[in-house]
Structure formats: C-alpha cells, structure tokens
Amino acid sequence: MRATWPAVTFFAVAALAPVVVRDAFFLDGLILILLWGAAGAAWNVAGGYAGQVSLGHAAFFGLGAYSAALLGTRWGISPWIGLLVGAALATAFGFILGFLSNRLRGPYFVLATIAFSQVLLIVASRWRGFTSGSEGIPVPFRPGFWTLGIVDKRVWVYLVLVLAALLYLVQLYLERSRRGYQLAAVREDEDAALSLGVPARRLKVAAIAVSAALTAICGTLWTQYVGFVDPLYVFSVDLSVRFCLFAILGGIGTPLGPFLGAALITILETSLRARFGGIGAGLVGIYLIIYGVVLVVTMRFAPQGLLRWIGEHLRRRPQPGPAS
C-alpha cells in the first residue's frame, strides 16, 4: 500500500484541480497530461509489462481516432459508439500484431510494428473516398454529452481522469495479480516460463490486444477534444515514439510512470513554447534534443525509468522492466 501513495496524491491533485483552478489553459495542460499519460500507460501494458516493445502504437491510436471521426461525420453516430468500434477494431489488429509477436522477437518485431502503422497511415491518407485522404477529418462540435461535445474543460478533466484511473488500475493489476506474475515471467524469459506451463503465447497476444484497445480509446477521446483528425499525425512514428517516451522516462513497469513522464514532457514543452515564442522559436526545438539525450542517458543509467531508479535505491525487490 505504501507504493500507491504517489499515485493517490497524483490523482487526488488532478481531481481537485478543476475545483480550484478556472484557467482554461491550465486545465488544458492537465487534460493532455492525463490523456497522454493514459496513452503511455496503454503502451506500457504491452511494452513494459509484457516486454513487447512496439514503435507502431500510433496505429491503434489512429484507429480509435478515425472510428469516432468517420462514424460521427458520415453517419452521425455518437462518438461513444465510435469509441467501442475503435476499440474493437484495434483489438482485432492487436491480435494480428500479437500473432506476429509469437513469430518474431526483438528488433524484428519492432520493425514489424513500424511497418504496420505506416501501412495504416498510407491507406488513411490515400483512400480519399472514405477517409477524406490527407485532408483529414474535422470533427463537428455538437454540444452534448452523448456526442462528446463538451465545452467545459472541467468536465473533460474528469472524463480523462476516469480513463487515466482505469489505466492505472489495469497496470496495477498486472503488477499484483497472478496473471501479472505470469506475464512478468514471460517477459523475463519466455522459454523458462513456457517450461513452467505458463501460456506464454496467449498472454502476449492478450496483452497486446488489451494495449491496442486502450490506446484506441485514448485516440477517440483525443479526437473529440482537439476536433481534427490528420492521418499524417495520428498514425505517425513520432507519435508512437512519444508513447514510449512517456512510459520510459517516467518508468516502464510502474503504474504511475507513464503519467509522470507525460507530465514532465508536457510541462517542459509548454513552458519552452510560452517562453521562446517568436522568430527565435528555433530554439524551442531544443526540447527534442533533450528528449533524445535523456532517452540515451536513461537507457544507459536507468533503463527501468527515472522513477524506478529512485525507488530502487530504497527497495530491494525484483522489478518489472527491460532486463539489463
């Protein structure tokens, strides 16, 4: 229970913030932190807990985004249904990817995930008749809860908070449950796990499918929040890498890690932008250099993530994360 103190604090602060603060920009930042944190956490289910590192998770994000946008604009269907459809589609594709993960290991799998998301990107940006091609889809804003047309940012905070809490609990489950331990065994040494009778293949596929569905849900919520779907963005490798970044910087294999990573990154970027706006904005690009360097350094010194590196100096029990 001690381990959950930071998480409780985090979620409590997030829940109380809208009551105390009215500033829309601050709330916007909070919403994005929770949303990106959730996306990073969804990635973490596959990447951190199941050890299936993917650089193509934007594929699922995009599926969620497009499902909601297309169903909404073409047939006037509620984005809540779109959310379910997106999650279902993502699960199906997740199974395909899971199948691949059982045939490929290491870098082969990573490359496959990249190819996967790129194929979806190209299809989305060429299929003009269906997806409006590269022009993307503006999502019409229809006020109402059923249409997820919500102006009040405070409601958005609570909405995304529910998603974030859900993802936190899913990860916690993977930390503490029997299934979770089995998954950890598969992650650490699949052959040994198999020899112990752990259904490694099924677990991996299940983890990826769940991760996919949850990522798609993040995609749907993002679409309704921002109001515009651009295929070159929602399916991009850059976005996939960001999901990993959130989880890695904050700590793979810790339930709160992705949220902290998302918080760090969002705050850094936002303050840099606010400060250096204008012609000298070239300097703002520094944050990208920082990510790259921090990623390299983190992998060198603290592959389990910053949070875990701190934690490890206080605890001595084996933790999930990439084997070093």
């Binding site: 603060v21 022009e135 515009f228 651009d230």
Partner: protein
C-alpha cells in the same frame, strides 16, 4: 518512497506556482494585443517564419497609420507544431494572454484544430493562409478566412488554362488534354480535386492521367514514363519543394514534352527554392500566387496603391528583397484586411465584428496584393475578390504574367517546346 512522493508533490507545486505567475494581467493601456499562431518549429517552420515576418512587417505599417482602434497593435506569438499543440496554444493565447483575435495558421492540418479551440473560447479566428475548404464550412461564427481556399486555387488554375492558355495553344478548352500530378497531402489533394472538377464539369477538358505521390519520394521516373504515354497538352502539377525539383530534373532527363506546366501556391514551382535549384533551366512553369515582379501597381485603386507601395518598401527594408515572398503577402495581406475590419467595426465584440466583416465590400485593387473584400456567409473571402495572379519562371525569376491588365509581362513559351530553348 517518501522521496518519490515528495518529488511528485514538489513538481505539482512548481506547476501551481507557474500558473499563478503567468496569470498576472498583461494588458497595458494603449496597446491592442492579438494572437499569432504559426508553425515555428518542425518541418513547416520555414514557411511559418515567413508568415510571421509578413505579419510583423504589416503590423509596423499599421502602427504607423494609427494602429487598430486607436491603439498600438501588439502580437503574442504561439508555436503550432502539430494539431494538438495548435489547439493548446490557441487556448493559451485566448485564456492566458487574453486575446480576442487569433490569426494564423498556414497549414491546413493546423487551422482545423486551432479554429476549433478558438471557437470554444469564443475568440475570433482570422485565417490568412490555410487552404482546407472545410475550414469555413463548419458553421462556426467566429472563423474567417481572407485567402481563397484550395477550391479557389483549383478554380483560378482552370480559369487561366481555359481562358488564356487554350487560345494561345490554338485549341478550345474542351479540346485540351490535361494530366494531373500531385503530392498527396491535404494541400495537393484539395487543389487538384477542385481543379479536376471544374475542368471537367465547366469546360469539358479531357483528363488523361491522374497520379498522386508522396512528396518525399526518391524517384519520379516511372510516373514521367506514364505521363509520356498519356501525352497531355497541359500538366497540372501541385508540388512541394523537393518533389518539384526532382520532377523537373527527371522530366528533362526523360525528355518529357508537354505544352504547359501549371501549379498553384507558394511551394514547389512557386517557391524561390525552385529558382535557386535551376536558375534559367527552370524557365517555363506557371504558379498561381500573389503578385510578383511586373505587377502594375498603378492599376490598383489609390488607397490600394499606397499601402502596396509601403508594403513592398517595408519588405525590401527588412529582407533586402524587391519581391515579397508568398508567405509575406498572404500573412501581411490578411492582417491588413483585419485592420480594415477593425477600423469599421471599432470593436472586437464578435457580433459587431462579424457584422462589419459581412458588410465590407471593396473592389479588387483596394488592399495589399490587389485584393478586394467581400466575405460570404461562411466567413470566406470570395474568389473573385481575392485576385490571384499567374506567375511564370522567366530568366530565373518568377514574374507576373496574368491577368494581363495587371502586369507588364507576358507569358512566354506557350507551348513550352524543347528543353534547352527557354533562356
């Protein structure tokens, strides 16, 4: 564990402090602040910065002429790297900086998100450049666009082909064979599709080829071979910078013969990069743009002439170039129109502003770029008023060749003829 908890709490306290600090009132008397949102980092930064420069040039001109609503015009700048950030920055400008008007954003994929965010904050969104046709079709009362959209580009291109090129080629418009080649982003698709539609439906031109490609492609030779087979009279090619250059080089290698190449916009054939890459070897293609060299300023209306001259002088003073770039012209031209509207409305209240916008009716030649003003119900400045011009590469430079009443230059090399013959 305590350390971790404290780290989290400390981080959140820092965040709170930042919030409180930034919430201090920024308004100074005598200044009127608007938000400017452009991509200043990332891949679109080159064009974004040109737009920002254009805004700054015209802002200074405006302040020399009494500012807006009696106050000095001041900018707060936001960096719109991608759609999420565009929305966040728009929100920041509206809430944190308290602006009532946001202008920008140049890229079709950014303007959608940015205008949505602006709408949610009840802020006026004054788009000066993005061409997505749907921007002004969402029923948002606060969104206005000074520049024509992608369909307008296609409209003008076909206008030029049908009304000018056709008779110079000795053919009727419906006798023309036209091939469409385009990069496949939002920009290329919107212009190409609208051109296709107008060409076919209004003029009955025969479409002999349609090819989309990713602008980062490594090789266009197969496409060129296909085009050779199709044997078009006109090539309607919407390109970005690198693909225009690749195409032109490889088309020459393959000895691709076509009678005219028509493009629209400040990228590709409309970009100074094309001239830099080819010099005189790049002579021939047409690009739909704002007015370039050869533009007869005297044909504008008196008030238009004044501001156009001042604008060009200011551009020269700031960048050393006699010719403003497309980005300067779009952003600067749009900002000037904003000033005209604010002068008329005397208020940034949405209803009064909107009324002033819809009431404004200025003929072609009244403002920068020789533009006029007549917004439709959707907040879109109409095609006929936003006069566009066809420029052609001659002598390693883009010069204005059409409409003929506005320029001293004339279009050359129709048909294009052999590759080495256009010096």
């Amino acid at each position: 564990m305590r350390h971790v908890k404290w780290a989290v709490v400390a981080g959140l306290v820092a965040l709170a402090v930042g919030v409180v600090g930034a919430l201090q009132a920024q308004q100074l008397s005598g200044e009127y602040k608007i938000g400017v949102l452009e991509p200043l980092t990332g891949n679109l930064a080159a064009e974004g910065k040109r737009h920002l420069e254009g805004y700054e040039i015209v802002r200074d001109l405006i302040n020399e002429r009494g500012g807006v609503m009696g106050k000095k015009l001041v900018f707060v700048v936001g960096d719109a790297v991608d759609p999420t950030v565009a929305a966040s920055e728009a929100t920041r400008l509206a809430t944190r900086e308290g602006v009532k008007i946001i202008t920008g954003t140049f890229s079709s994929t950014l303007c959608g998100a940015a205008s949505e965010a602006a709408a949610r904050q009840n802020v006026i969104y004054w788009e000066t450049s993005c061409v997505d046709p749907r921007l002004t079709k969402r029923g948002l009362k606060n969104v206005f666009r000074t520049e024509i959209d992608g369909t307008g580009f296609g409209w003008y291109n076909v206008e030029f082909i049908a009304k000018h090129l056709a008779h110079r080629l000795g053919k009727k418009p419906n006798e023309l064979r036209i091939a469409y080649l385009s990069e496949d982003s939002s920009y290329g698709q919107s212009v190409t599709e609208s051109a296709r539609q107008r060409a076919k439906q209004e003029f009955g031109m025969e479409e002999v080829a349609l090819e989309y490609y990713t602008f980062t492609t490594n090789d266009l030779t197969p496409v060129i071979l296909k085009l050779k087979n199709a044997n078009p009279d006109i090539l309607h090619h919407i390109a970005r910078n690198q693909d225009a250059i690749l195409f032109w080089r490889q088309a020459r290698e393959q000895n691709f013969q076509v009678k005219a190449v028509v493009h629209a916009g400040a990228t590709g054939y409309g970009s100074p990069d094309f001239g830099k890459a080819f010099g005189n070897d790049g002579n021939g293609p047409f690009a739909l743009l704002e007015p370039g060299p050869g533009f007869v300023i005297e044909k504008m209306r008196p008030e238009g002439q004044q501001i156009e001259r001042a604008f060009r002088q200011a551009v020269k003073a700031k960048t050393g170039s006699d010719v403003p770039t497309g980005g300067h012209q779009l952003a600067g031209g749009g900002l000037w129109l904003l000033k005209l509207v604010l002068d008329a409305a005397k208020s940034d209240d949405l209803d009064k502003f909107r009324a002033a916008v819809l009431a404004m009716d200025l003929p072609v030649g009244s403002a920068i770029n020789g533009w006029g003003v007549k917004f439709d119900e959707n907040g879109q400045n109409t095609n006929a008023r936003v006069q566009h011009y066809m420029l052609q590469w001659q002598g390693g430079q883009l010069v204005t060749v059409w409409p003929e009443e506005f320029t001293t230059n004339r279009a050359k090399w129709i048909p294009l003829g052999a590759w080495d013959q256009r010096k």
